[in-house]
């Protein structure tokens, strides 16, 4: 009996040490993935799984922001922008050993475009009425024809993970660097290295370098920080400036500032004609001079310095400079200029009396600024704006609301005066912002769901956005979208405040991590991330 127990203990020790030898990368997901089906991905956690496990025909290089070949070795878009032909990589197999070919691409596209599936990825490809036709032209050639031209078509394939047409494992058979081995709801998702992954490094070694990835599910940022500082997890994909500063003091080698992100913080005034606000206030909010005066009275440099500890840049418009191609470099810097603000206000009949600003009818200029409760950075930003606007006689009442109440007010009842929120940009392409700029859209926050554009400049925005979406030539699209940015800067329907920097945590144990501003910031090159040789020689 004792001998048997000794053998069991020995076996346990051997197994434990074998498990310890695995190069396992660990980081946190903020919530459980809602799906493992790549066609149905609609949340951050599921997107992470799709990125780590899914094989795509073309991949957007997050560093260069250029499209690169993956499972397709070559591609060609037709002149009319409706057809894309792919030459597929040969000899590739799914994680379960099933061979990859043109039939799998057709199967994936048919599934994505099936209206009954309601695939968010498929919706992005659905540009017009009619079907997407996939024509298999051999084992390794396929062409896809869309009912209408699709601008920036090849970029959309970055999110189309190919699913096997013949595997019994269905979407769990993958072509990406890892495959899912275990999922415990509320606890973790375990991924293991795909033995059939097709990529090799320059020296001919199979990629990925890591053996496994463990995605633990944890929504609490404090716990994430503590675990990271104890090296129990290896990556943090985005953190607040407060946390960054604290970690940079205690462990300077563990945090990195990857420069401006694609995200922006902005405020806007309610311009909805039917909103339950005083008509004279609606007049202020519809005045370009009023909006521009408020914008000029906000000290963005101080916001960057005080609220973000220097880890942000003053925003110039709807596109961050991190978006290398689409950012309009001709946009003027938003300067802090209270004198100019007062001049603009005077042009509209506003006047100062006893340090308070009055409009031409003698109404005290006072408005409420709503934002979401619990976001320290946003609350501090609002308090600084309150102080800045006080200097030109405007009284701002800050109201922090729980998120559902806030969304209900800004999207349904329109019972608010000014709001401040952030915009998370995932896509580089301007088509990702169609829902913001079209006057008929729900997300046209200052005045959504317009039957016809309320102003001439909104009509022009509609025209330009539609023109760029149907143009095939990138230069024509760029010209149109530059004009959109210029109009937005002139009219200030959104008062852009800052572009936050991408602040990440990277364990010094890791090699090959190159943080970038686009998502996923730290593990976009997951195949080439590995543990440092020092750790490996120490028995990990």
């Amino acid at each position: 009996m004792r001998r048997a127990m000794s053998w069991i203990c020995l076996l346990a020790v051997v197994l434990a040490s074998a498990a310890g030898c695995l190069d396992e990368l660990r980081f946190y997901l903020r919530s459980d993935p809602k799906t493992f089906n790549p066609a149905l991905v609609d949340d951050d956690a599921a997107e992470t799984i799709r990125y780590l496990t899914g094989g795509v025909l073309l991949r957007l290089n997050r560093q260069t922001q250029q499209v690169e070949p993956e499972l397709a070795t070559a591609w060609k878009v037709s002149k009319d922008g409706r057809t894309i032909s792919f030459q597929l990589r040969k000899g590739v197999r799914f994680s379960d050993g099933t061979p990859f070919g043109a039939q799998d691409v057709k199967f994936t596209m048919d599934a994505l475009m099936d209206p009954a599936l309601h695939s968010p990825t498929g919706d992005a490809l659905r540009t017009g009425a009619g079907k997407v036709t996939a024509v298999v032209q051999g084992v390794d050639r396929i062409s896809l024809t869309f009912p209408a031209p699709v601008a920036g078509l090849e970029r959309l394939f970055d999110q189309v993970a190919i699913v096997s047409a013949s595997s019994a494992k269905k979407e769990m058979a993958v072509l990406g660097p890892f495959y899912v081995t275990d999922y415990k709801p509320g606890a973790y998702v375990a991924l293991r290295r795909n033995p059939n992954y097709w990529k090799h490094d320059e020296a001919g070694h199979s990629l990925p370098y890591l053996d496994a990835v463990k995605l633990e599910i944890q929504g609490n940022r404090d716990i994430e920080m503590l675990k990271f500082s104890r090296s129990e997890i290896h990556l943090i994909n985005g953190m607040d400036a407060d946390y960054y500063d604290r970690l940079s003091r205690s462990a300077p080698g563990k945090v990195r500032d990857a420069g401006p992100s694609l995200d922006s913080e902005q405020m806007w005034f309610n311009q909805v004609a039917t909103a339950p606000i005083a008509p004279y206030k609606l007049d202020w909010f519809r005045s370009r001079n009023f909006r521009r005066a408020v914008s000029a009275a906000i000290n963005r440099d101080d916001l960057c310095k005080v609220v973000y500890g220097g880890h942000a840049i003053p925003a110039r418009g709807p596109v961050s400079p991190a978006n290398k191609y689409w950012f309009n470099t001709q946009l003027p810097q938003a300067r802090y200029d209270p004198a100019n603000a007062m001049q603009l206000l005077r042009e509209d009949g506003f006047r100062l009396a006893g340090g308070k600003l009055l409009d031409r009818s003698g109404h005290l200029v006072e408005f409420s600024l709503v934002t979401n409760a619990g976001n320290r950075m946003r609350e501090r930003t609002a308090t600084m704006i309150q102080a800045d606007l006080r200097s030109i006689g405007i009284t701002v009442n800050i109201v922090t609301l729980d998120f559902p109440s806030l969304i209900q007010r800004i999207s349904e009842s329109f019972n608010y005066e000014a709001a401040m929120l952030g915009l998370t940009n995932v896509e580089l392409d301007p088509n990702g912002q169609m829902n913001v700029w079209l006057s008929s859209s729900d997300e046209h926050q200052w005045n959504p769901r317009q039957k016809t554009p309320a102003t001439a400049w909104e009509a022009e925005l509609d025209r330009l956005m539609r023109a760029q979406a149907s143009a095939i030539e990138a230069t024509a699209r760029k010209r149109d979208f530059d004009r959109v940015q210029a109009i937005v800067a002139e009219e200030a329907p959104f008062i852009y405040l800052v572009n936050k920097n991408t602040l990440v945590g990277v364990s010094p144990l890791l090699e090959g991590v190159v943080p970038v501003s686009t998502r996923p910031q730290t593990y976009w090159n997951i195949e080439r991330i590995r543990f440092a040789a020092e750790r490996a020689s120490n028995g990990k």
Partner: protein, 267 residues
Amino acid sequence: MRTARTIGLMLASLIALASFGGSLLQRFDYSRQDREQVSAGPSQEHWLGTDALGRDRLARLLHGTRVSLTLAPAAAGIALLLAFLAGATPGFVGGASERVAKIAIDLMLSVPWLFLLLMVRAMLPLNTSPAASAAITFLMLGLLGWGMPARILMARAQRLRRSEFVVLARASGVSRWRLLCIHVMPNLRPVLLAQFWIAVPVFILAEANLSLLGLGVAEPLPSLGSLLQELETVLSFRGDACSFAALLVMMLMVGSLQIAFMKHEVS
């Protein structure tokens, strides 16, 4: 015991005097942002340093203590008045009123008050000044916080109703009103006072929690609750002793008041 009470009373008076007097001084502007000295340590200019927006921490502490010292006891007073009416009075009277009151108290305790507060705040006009928002917050706390003290007061009143001296007084023909005023009220006072001093810090902390949900005192007006938010998470405070000043003041204030009024409770 007397010495302890004197010290308690002096300390409480000192805090009240400092907060009410200091907050009136021009030097202590709680909203001025010194953006060149953000999160700074103690200095000649800022004795307790500055917060994350460069505001003088001492000025905010003085004003915040004044706001909380004024409004939290007021809210506790409202809650206890309601608790007395809904708990002690029916508990003493008995009968149908007692049964109805019990149901009302149980209902009040079972209401998810946080959601109720969220709902009430969502219905309030957005353009309220910070001072009005502070008053509304504490008023709501007072109006919704009477359930637990009412249950305790009811139990005490029931016990008094069945006590020998009350039975004797009633048998002697003492009117119910006179019984309540002369015999019951003095006996309820220790419980009332205890509940009052329990309610004050509870309301201050409740206001801090509400601030996280957007229901607290609006910026830039400080309160002890909003100042305690600096200690919100393990990682959010910078670890300097001054960030604990609000907590220290609250503990000293509540502790000294408890000691100062101990005599009444034991009598």
